[in-house]
């Protein structure tokens, strides 16, 4: 098993791979990091030249073609937006900017009040159009997608077992179960064993380790921020686990249960 770690996506991304030869594993890990960098280059809200920033500036004027990965993430986000009765909404970005959690996007038009993910048209040919000016932030899902993309790249390069962890959003694969630990939300310098996971993902949302202990999950309906503590979700894919932590933090118990069942996922409150 070899492991590498690089600062990407605003956090530490660690990739582990087991393979018959260390050289093969090292090459596969390079490809996996390249996939993570590509997701960062496509979906960063902070980077002016990302495809997402270009959409935020111009997709209300005409449909724009985007990379298939961005289109796929937007389709999953739109689906989760419908299924969660609007609780998962990447169009929440203006509120995050207002709260000082995201920088103001340079050159983007003022977003239309009340714009939601419903105002995003996902068209044939990997094209996207906004029905009105709006700002999308994929912070609640893109990190998980980057983990999935890295795992796919490891597998495509012949790695049979491994793990990818993007600062706490992780996915493991291989024949053997791997132990998953949770950072204690009350005391981040402590961890505890959470369970054993084979071929699956775990993501956690919580208020700790953010500047000034602010929680970056905001209820699109305008209510108060959710309770403190952390919520972990186990799912097949890390993008789904990542997104569902936000939904479970905000949704009434019945809706959470229905969504978790739909995605064959489990929530573990801390």
């Amino acid at each position: 098993m070899i492991a590498r770690c690089r600062p990407l996506l605003g956090t530490y991304v660690e990739i582990r791979a087991r393979d018959s030869t260390l050289d093969c594993a090292a090459v596969a890990i390079e490809h996996a990091f390249a996939a993570v960098e590509q997701v960062q280059g496509l979906m960063s809200f902070h980077a002016r030249d990302s495809e997402l920033s270009r959409l935020n500036r111009a997709a209300h004027r005409r449909a724009r073609r985007v990379h298939p990965w961005l289109h796929r993430v937007l389709r999953l986000a739109a689906r989760l937006h419908r299924e969660s009765a609007g609780l998962f909404d990447p169009a929440i970005a203006p509120r995050l900017v207002e709260a000082g959690l995201l920088p103001r996007p340079a050159g983007a038009p003022r977003p239309a009040p009340g714009a939601t993910m419903m105002d995003v048209e996902l068209l044939e040919g990997s094209r996207v159009r906004f029905r009105k000016p709006l700002w999308l932030d994929l912070g609640g899902i893109a990190k998980g997608f980057a983990v999935d993309a890295a795992v796919a790249m490891l597998r495509a390069n012949g790695v049979r077992a491994g793990a990818v962890n993007a600062g706490g959003d992780l996915r493991v694969f291989g024949e053997e179960a791997q132990l998953v630990h949770l950072r204690d939300p009350a005391q981040p310098a402590r961890v505890r064993p959470l369970g054993a996971l084979r071929c699956g993902a775990c993501a956690t949302s919580g208020g700790y380790f953010t500047d000034g202990a602010r929680w970056a999950t905001i209820d699109p309906r305008g209510g108060a921020r959710p309770r403190t503590g952390s919520i972990s979700v186990i799912a097949h894919r890390c993008a789904v686990a990542d997104a569902l932590t936000k939904v479970v933090a905000l949704a009434p118990a019945s809706l959470s249960r229905a969504l978790l069942r739909l995605y064959r996922a489990e929530a573990l409150p801390a």
Partner: protein, 173 residues
């Protein structure tokens, strides 16, 4: 996907465990970042004025590792430094092109010290028995830590300091 949670048994004891991973030795990182190149160690002695400017450029209080600079034969630099966060200590390497642009950043080692929560022995035995087909060793294998995102802003500051060092010192060598 197969998930077997540890169910909520009361805490029995607390022991301390360190999560530490070494990804690269300095030599391995040099070989990856500058394959086949010859590197010459360049020990630095920074005066207070330079130290002050490095601090202003990066916001980092800890002194720069004056023993961590190598010049690459044929152009470029290899720098090893440390950052200390609230809970973590990280050694990282930065490679620069001959004109002082960042080529790569690699984490060499990452260290966090944890208290490790150990639950009741009978409960642990139950877990071990159930997963005979999926052997997992409790307490020995802290690898996959989930949690709200750990920020890498200390490394961002560290890279800023390396770039300031290049402008102030290395580019004049």
């Amino acid at each position: 996907m197969k998930w077997q949670p540890f169910l909520g048994a009361p805490l029995a004891a607390l022991s301390v465990s360190a999560y530490a991973t070494q990804y690269f030795t300095v030599e391995q990182a040099q070989a990856r970042m500058f394959p086949g190149a010859k590197l010459a160690h360049v020990p630095l002695q920074l005066d207070d004025a330079i130290r002050g400017q490095l601090h202003d450029a990066s916001g980092i209080h800890e002194p720069f590792n004056e023993d961590g600079v190598w010049k690459v034969d044929g152009g470029g630099w290899f720098i090893v430094d440390k950052v200390v966060g609230k809970h973590e200590m990280i050694t990282y390497a930065v490679s620069l092109t001959a004109s002082g642009a960042v080529k790569d950043v690699e984490i060499l080692d990452y260290r966090e010290t944890y208290g490790y929560e150990v639950r009741k022995p009978e409960w642990r035995a139950q877990f071990t028995g159930k997963t005979a087909a999926d052997p997992v060793k409790l307490g020995q294998d802290i690898r996959n830590i989930s949690g709200a995102t750990l920020s890498s802003k200390h490394i961002t500051q560290g890279v800023k300091r390396v770039l300031a060092l290049y402008l102030l010192v290395l580019s004049k060598q």
